[in-house]
Structure formats: structure tokens, C-alpha cells
């Protein structure tokens, strides 16, 4: 399956690991697999024994996602509220 574009460009069917996938609109959702991967490796290295491993991974994943969300909210408030207020807008 291919797609022929108007300007002559040819787009082949998606080839996994060769072509990118379009995550332009949902890029922020990629935080979740990123947080899971980081938590898995960190807890695998850090935990003394692996009892309760997945619970610890889940907890760290939630902490990362919430932390990043809070950082996003804080950045929004600084840029959209504080900076506008300081600039008199």
C-alpha cells in the first residue's frame, strides 16, 4: 500500500522501526511509557529485593506523571499569569 501525494511524493505503508509514527497531537501521552520505563529500570537497580517491585514501579510512575503535570501547571502560571502581570498586560 502506498499513498501518492499531489507533489509527486510517495509515502509507503508504515514500516515499523524504519518510519516514524504520527504522535503530533498526542505527544504528551508519551510521558506515560517514558515514566514506566524509567521506573522499571530504576527500581530494578535500586530495590534491595524485588518483593513488591511492580507496586513500587506503579507508585514511581504516578509520582513522575503527577510531578511533570505539576511542573507544567507551574510553568503555565509563570508564563501566562506572572509574566503577563509583570509586563502590565
Amino acid at each position: 500500500m502506498i499513498a501518492l501525494l499531489a507533489d509527486g511524493a510517495v509515502l509507503p505503508a508504515y514500516r515499523p522501526f524504519i518510519d516514524p509514527i504520527q504522535v503530533h497531537a498526542l505527544w504528551w501521552l508519551m510521558l506515560l511509557p517514558l515514566a514506566v520505563g524509567v521506573s522499571m529500570v530504576y527500581k530494578a537497580v535500586r530495590m534491595r529485593d524485588l518483593h513488591g517491585y511492580w507496586l513500587a514501579v506503579l507508585r514511581m510512575t504516578v509520582e513522575i506523571v503527577l510531578g511533570m503535570g505539576l511542573l507544567g501547571v507551574a510553568t503555565y502560571l509563570v508564563v501566562e499569569v506572572y509574566v503577563r502581570k509583570m509586563s502590565g498586560g
Binding site: V23, V38, K43, R48, L50, A56
Partner: protein, 220 residues
């Protein structure tokens, strides 16, 4: 004081260069070498999961030592798999074009209307004949149907893929250090009440870790 990483309390941590070397070859192999099989599997799934997710999202163009060298340094920390992927990208997917400014051939990503000549890697323009994309070289070599050998990601996909693969590399550094100073576990040997080797590590076993009996294993 934080607990020692992935080592049993009381057991001495010794430098193990062999574990560090095999850990650098492939994520998790160092802990497997140390006998910590479950931990090795979790590390492999974690690091390679991040790495492969990055390649799946951003495509193979995320790993590029020529055009993206600084990020490549971080990706290279995953191990030889990055160098292999970059070799495929440079030699099997990029196209060779003549650069008039440099007066020499150079490699670049194919444009969406270019195919790659499999004989020498040169770029061939794709034309559409009867609805089928075809590429013809000057010496009558024909590729039909012809596609670009790979598609460079739109910026956000490329950024995400590069980020995922580089973070996988940084995490593997932690893994390599942990393997280098890890404690070896002897496989398939049941712990005995007395005479347990100082280097023997039995995760979760009562009495060995000094937890004072019971089954309560502590989390990090």
C-alpha cells in the same frame, strides 16, 4: 542512610569488571552474569523497552551519528545495538548525493520523492507511471514500485524518539555501574543455615538479609 543498591546488607560490594563489560554489551547482561536473573530480565525489558519505543515512534532516523552526534553519544551508552542500527541507517537507508558546495558525494535522508539505488546508494527521483511509483537510473536500471528507503520523522516524533533512546542510554550507565559493584549470586544452590558465603545473596530469604525473620521484604 539509603540502602545499598541491589545488594544485600552486610555483603561486601566488590568491583567486578567482567560484569561491567558484559553489561555494556547488552542491557541486563551484567546482572545475569552476577546470577541476578530476575533483576536482569527487568532491566533488559526496561532499557530495551524504552529504546525500542523510541525507535518505533521516531523511526530509525533518530539514531544518526553524522547529523545528530551529541544525542548519539547518549544513545551509544545502550551498547553495540546503537552502532549496528546507525550502520544500517547510514549504509542501507540514506542516499548518496553530489554536494556542489563540497564538490563531493555526501549522505543524507531521502526526500519523499526519492528512492535509493541498492547498488551504490545514489538517490533516484521517483516518477509515477500508470499509478505506480517507478525509479529509473541513467543506466536503465529500474525499481518498480519505488519508495523512499525511510522517512525522516516530523519534528515532534523525531524529538520523542531521540529522547527515549537517549534516556535508555543514560539509564544503562546506572545499570553498568550497579553491575560493576554488584554482589554475585550462586545459581541453583539452596542456602544453608550455616556457612553461607559472604558473597551469596538470597533475595527475600529470612535470616540472611538481617531482617530478623518473617517474610516482610522491604521496598526501596
Amino acid at each position: 542512610m539509603p540502602p545499598p543498591p541491589s545488594s544485600q546488607a552486610g555483603a561486601p560490594e566488590t568491583f567486578n569488571p567482567a560484569a561491567a563489560v558484559v553489561a555494556a554489551v547488552f542491557p541486563g547482561l551484567g546482572h545475569f552474569h552476577l546470577g541476578q536473573t530476575k533483576r536482569a530480565i527487568l532491566i533488559t525489558v526496561g532499557v530495551m523497552g524504552l529504546y525500542l519505543t523510541g525507535i518505533a515512534v521516531g523511526g530509525v532516523a533518530c539514531v544518526d551519528r553524522r547529523d545528530n552526534f551529541i544525542w548519539f553519544l547518549g544513545q551509544a551508552l545502550v551498547g553495540p545495538v546503537t552502532f549496528g542500527l546507525d550502520y544500517v541507517h547510514q549504509n542501507k537507508l540514506k542516499v548518496m548525493v553530489f554536494d556542489p558546495r563540497m564538490q563531493a558525494d555526501r549522505l543524507r535522508e531521502p526526500y519523499p520523492n526519492e528512492a535509493r539505488d541498492p547498488r551504490n546508494g545514489h538517490a533516484i527521483p521517483i516518477i509515477v507511471e500508470n499509478g505506480i511509483p517507478v525509479a529509473r537510473t541513467a543506466d536503465k536500471f529500474v525499481i518498480s514500485p519505488a519508495y523512499p528507503s525511510n522517512v525522516k520523522a516530523v519534528p515532534r516524533s523525531n524529538e520523542l524518539g531521540t529522547l527515549f533512546t537517549t534516556i535508555a542510554g543514560f539509564l544503562n550507565v546506572i545499570v553498568i555501574i550497579d553491575a560493576a559493584f554488584g554482589v554475585r549470586v550462586e545459581r541453583k544452590r539452596k542456602p544453608i543455615a550455616t556457612g553461607v558465603s559472604k558473597t551469596l545473596r538470597v533475595p527475600g530469604a529470612a535470616g540472611v538479609g538481617g531482617s530478623g525473620g518473617g517474610s516482610g521484604g522491604g521496598a526501596a
